[in-house]
């Protein structure tokens, strides 16, 4: 006799509530493959957990963003934000698509050079540039975005000493009507600090003020803030042209475009509420075109968006380690993906899909990571189907920041693989080993071989 199909028994209390016109589908979606490759096969080959990146999605997303701006503004240049994901394979895809490099440290700068990016196609941002970094950037003809007066004066000393002209821009912070105001980076627009910096640069020999830069925040849900910001940078460019007959060559609007992830506390999913590339492009380009900038000297528009270009291309596959009941009878599922490798779970309600066919029966579940730490919570509350130990789960939209902000904490960082456009799998970052960490440590002689 053929046996009946088994599904673990479940009882759910029916909770009556006010009907919600925004009600979401309650159907359990599963994700059994990534670009046609079964997640089971990826785990069999590369272990669990494992990060998976899609080259096709990276390229398509870049092209969509580029098209949105290029179709509205004559001169557009993207620069890949290294801090968002600086795996060399990822950087190479963006450079191949035409992106320059946008770096924020000496480490990232050297990475860009090693990736074959010419010095004059590197934008050097951030508050931390050593004198050696600045000297290197000047000699390579990179674009140095000055963050504060201390850096400006350091650079003045360096160019005087080496007698070479530096190509510089200033980072400008401003009130764009959004909270929080990112005033810790750059020179303030409203109090006149940015204009002072421009004047100081214009009166310095060996400094060529080529650009103006701003980066108004992160995960910006409103495009209007970009209109305000572009307008304020355009005003500075116009004032500079009027006073010095000097035309700013580029305006760098930074990044901060939202990805389709859902922020914690958001009522509706990010994929339904975040502005599109077209929305951002319209806000920025119309502000520049409608400004008082002389059309004969329209600056190049630089964009450094990171998150929105890579988030969708990343997946994290993991496995169920255990199911348990909490003291209030709530279900808890422990998976082998912790906050140490999924850093973005601190601010996103990540979607989580079963990696195999499963029951449509769900329970309100808390999903924990494997770390022996109370903060290791991937989802506090999710209607999740009943998975058994070793079942697979897939978390989409993890391409941004996780592979740079991850921590070696309690466990080792896992393999990262890339699916190319022909659906071949490539290992692009090897799983770490105990040896790697042992090699970095030095035990003083008097503490060696102590018997316990």
């Amino acid at each position: 006799m053929e046996k009946l199909k088994y599904e673990r028994p479940i009882i759910n209390k029916i909770k009556a509530g006010v009907p919600d016109k925004y009600g979401m589908s309650t159907r359990v979606q599963i994700k059994t493959d990534i670009e046609g490759i079964p997640v089971k096969d990826i785990v069999n080959q590369y272990g669990s957990p494992v990060f998976v990146l899609s080259e096709k999605t990276i390229r398509e997303t870049y092209q969509e963003a580029h098209r949105a701006f290029q179709s509205r503004y004559p001169k557009v240049q993207f620069a890949w934000s290294y801090k968002t994901n600086y795996l060399d394979a990822v950087c190479q895809i963006f450079h191949d698509e035409g992106s320059w490099a946008e770096v924020v440290s000496g480490f990232e700068y050297d990475k860009a050079i090693e990736n074959g990016v010419p010095g004059n196609k590197i934008i050097f941002n951030g508050p931390d540039k050593s004198d050696a970094d600045l000297k290197k950037a000047v000699e390579n003809g990179s674009f140095i975005h000055i963050d504060h007066f201390d850096e400006l004066y350091s650079l003045m000393r360096i160019v005087k000493k080496i007698g070479k002209k530096a190509k510089v821009a200033i980072r400008v912070n401003m009130d764009t009507g959004v909270y929080p105001k990112w005033d810790r980076f750059g020179f303030n627009y409203e109090n006149g600090e940015a204009w002072n910096a421009i004047n100081r640069i214009m009166l310095t020999e060996n400094m060529d003020l080529v650009g103006l830069h701003t980066h108004i925040g992160t995960y910006m849900m409103t495009t209007n803030a970009y209109t305000v910001a572009a307008g304020k940078l355009a005003d500075l460019a116009v004032k500079t042209a009027q006073k010095y007959k000097h035309h700013i060559k580029y305006i760098d609007m930074g990044g901060g475009f939202a990805s389709k992830n859902t922020l914690k506390g958001a009522y509706l999913p990010g994929k339904d509420t975040c502005p599109s590339f077209d929305d951002y492009a319209e806000a920025i380009t119309s502000a520049l075109i409608n400004s008082e900038i002389d059309p004969e000297h329209l600056p190049v528009l630089f964009l450094e968006t990171g998150r929105a270009l890579i988030d969708d291309a990343g997946y994290l596959i993991g496995s169920v380690l255990a199911n348990k009941r909490l003291s209030n009878a709530r279900r808890a599922t422990i998976i082998d993906i912790g906050v140490n490798i999924l850093f973005t779970s601190f601010w996103y309600e990540h979607e989580i899909y079963p990696g195999q066919a499963c029951s449509q029966q769900t329970e309100d579940t808390t999903i924990y990571g494997p770390l022996c730490m109370n903060i290791d919570v991937i989802r506090e509350s999710i209607q999740f189907p009943l998975l058994q130990k070793n079942d697979l789960v897939v978390i989409p939209r993890v391409g941004a920041y996780n592979m740079t902000q991850w921590m070696q904490f309690i466990t080792l960082r896992p393999n990262v693989v890339l699916i190319d456009r022909e659906q071949n799998l490539h290992l692009i970052r090897k799983k770490e080993t105990n040896e790697i960490f042992k090699n970095q440590e030095i035990v003083p002689k008097h503490l060696k071989n102590k018997k316990t």
Binding site: K3, Y6, R325
Partner: protein, 82 residues
């Protein structure tokens, strides 16, 4: 373990507890367990019955059953032994 006598359950998994006024949704395997409990089958008898009829091994079912019985207890749907 004994299910409270006047708890009503339909074949498609809708359960009503007249003591509390609460309603519950159950899946097919849960309905089957409730029926066995109503027939006053013991835990071991339920396990034997399930492993014979369903595509499940003893360890998995035993674990799932205990979890389910704990939920019945949590929702106060079983007679408390005196």
């Amino acid at each position: 373990m004994k299910i409270k006598s006047n708890i009503a359950i339909s074949d498609n998994g809708f359960m009503f507890d007249p003591y509390s006024g609460d309603s519950y949704n159950l899946n097919a395997t849960a309905v089957a367990i409730i029926k066995l409990l109503k027939e006053e089958k013991t835990r071991d008898e339920i396990i034997e019955d399930f492993v014979r009829k369903y595509d499940v091994d003893t360890f998995t079912f035993e674990q799932n059953l205990d979890d389910f019985l704990a939920m019945l207890n949590h929702y106060d749907l079983v007679e408390q032994s005196s």
